[in-house]
């Protein structure tokens, strides 16, 4: 009999610690599938963030280290510079990457570090139970914006892909979403392209993935998927923000 589906080798047999409807499980699986398909499991080193995904080493079946909050790109820089033939990626949430770790992400991008960044944007702090994130939308209610985020008091959400697209050292930036099957397939292609670019030594790639946090959004998993589609992706517009490789082809 022909196997049409199996669990990727890059995932361990482990009971999930993520909440029902959380996007991390989908994204972990996509990364694991890509790593399997590229045949790079034995030379991949992951850098986990602080936040819900800190436990990534429980799920990924390859080498993974933890890093301090926001510092994953600095840790990845140290690893990749010394082991340039290994595949190094960071997995970071919005608080980790776009608040406390803004300096690290901007400067690793500016240095054009040949790493892949998986940036999971769910517009809220998940692990600490629902405070305002740097990507929380205007009017969105969180435990620290109980009347809704008011840009006058709380500032505006940070658009990471738009921001990084101005940086010369960046090779590839794409914002994707996991709100539907077609978008999940697109997300996987984007992740794969980012890893391929690293294998081809093309430099810094970041994939921003709009993801769900139903528990802290106070929604059902289905409502959460719909919220990405109807609200979140209106503010964080999906698409390729930079692809140096494609640009070169056009010239």
């Amino acid at each position: 009999m022909k196997a049409v589906y199996k669990k990727p080798e890059s995932l361990k047999e482990e009971i999930t610690t993520y909440c029902p409807g959380c996007g991390h499980g989908i994204i972990h699986k996509l990364i694991a599938e890509v790593i399997d398909e590229l045949g790079i499991r034995e030379k991949t080193i992951g850098v986990a963030p602080v936040g819900c995904a800190v436990l990534a080493y429980n799920f990924f079946n390859f080498d993974v280290t933890e890093s301090a909050h926001g510092r994953a790109p600095a840790v990845a820089t140290g690893i990749k510079r010394l082991l340039p033939d290994r595949i190094v990626f960071t997995y970071q949430g919005d608080g980790d990457l776009a608040a406390i770790g803004t300096a690290e992400i901007i400067h690793s991008a500016a240095r054009g570090e040949n790493i892949t960044v998986i940036f999971v944007n769910n517009a809220i702090y998940g692990m600490t139970k629902g405070q305002m994130a740097p990507t929380t939308l205007p009017e969105q209610k969180t435990t620290t914006t109980i009347y809704g985020r008011n840009p006058i008091h709380h500032g505006y959400p940070l658009k990471v892909c738009e921001l990084l697209s101005q940086i010369e050292g960046v090779c590839y930036l794409e914002r994707v979403s996991i709100d539907s099957v077609p978008n999940i397939i697109k997300t996987k292609s984007a992740i794969k392209k980012a890893f391929l670019y690293q294998i081809e030594n093309k430099g810094f790639s970041l994939i921003e993935i709009l993801s769900t946090c139903p528990v802290n959004w106070k929604m059902t998993p289905k409502e959460a998927m719909n919220w990405i589609k109807e609200v979140m992706s209106k503010y964080f517009v999906l698409g390729i923000y930079k692809d140096k490789s494609e640009q070169k082809k056009e010239v």
């Binding site: 030379k43 990924f60 510092r71 140290g78 690893i79 901007i106």
Partner: protein, 350 residues
Amino acid sequence: MKKQLLTGCEAAGEAAIHAGCKFYAGYPITPQNRFPEYMSKRMPEEKGVFIQAESELSAINMVFGASVCGFRALTSSSSPGISLKQEGISYLAGCELPAVIINMNRGGPGLGDVTPSQSDYFQATRGGGHGDYRTIVYAPWDIQELYDLTYIAFDIADKYRNPVLILADGIIAQIMEPVKFKKPKKNLPQKKWALTGCKGRKPNSIKSLFLTPGILEKHNWKLYKKYRKIEEKEVKYEKYFCDDIESLIVSFGTCARICYESIKITRDKGFKIGLFRPITLWPFPYKQLEETIENAKKIYVVEMNLGQMIDDVKIANRKNLPIYFYGRPGGGVPTPEEIYNFIRKNESSI
């Protein structure tokens, strides 16, 4: 081998290279700017990596990354920058990762000034960052010793899988002295725990998060055992003129070197004074100091700070001898005459 005339920053850089260090990340801060400048030239020559980071936070986390994948790694800075690195040092200690951190101490608190100081003694010897941990701390008093201690610091860091600090100061960073080199280390042993890709083995993970109840407590007791072993095995100190003492000066680093000069004057004038110099500030040589003061009548503590080492001297001073403190905080550097005058005043007051 011929001696080389080098600044402290250069000598420590060479020591790291000779010890097999392949990675340096740093950020400019006076009085140790020569360090990143020098390493930016030397690391590429040695097929190592030099990175000027965007911050001290980033630099120490790059060192964390280098250490995670099994390489010997170094960062250097001065006091305000070392405060920023404390986050990373705590993570290194929690993850049991080796690394060497050099602090060319300047005056504080806050931005302070750029002149030499010993004001980071507490920070260096009591962990420095959050959590229950210790770092091994070496305090060199000249450039040769800075070289020698930096050279062994990498071995000690690897041996115990623990960060090692060198606590020097702005004088040691900038003065030039002749230095005799040691043999460059080659073919260092592989680290089985390192993350290098899981080819041919089970995946490795490095972490300091232990959420399951009781596991962190167990981990901390494991660290405790390691720290007790370090206390037992790694104490370093020197003593001078201590055979017939009535009084003992306790001082470390640059300040001890100045005290050494003042003791020559006091000895010429007939005072029976010796000098005890801890070289490891943690582990502190409590037992050795206790033995040294056995026949003494009083202790002088001389530091370029407000008396931070006195706490440790008191632990060793079970005889309860009177302790007299002479300090120059905020970047002040005493002269040998100044220390001599302080001692003469107190010696003749008995």
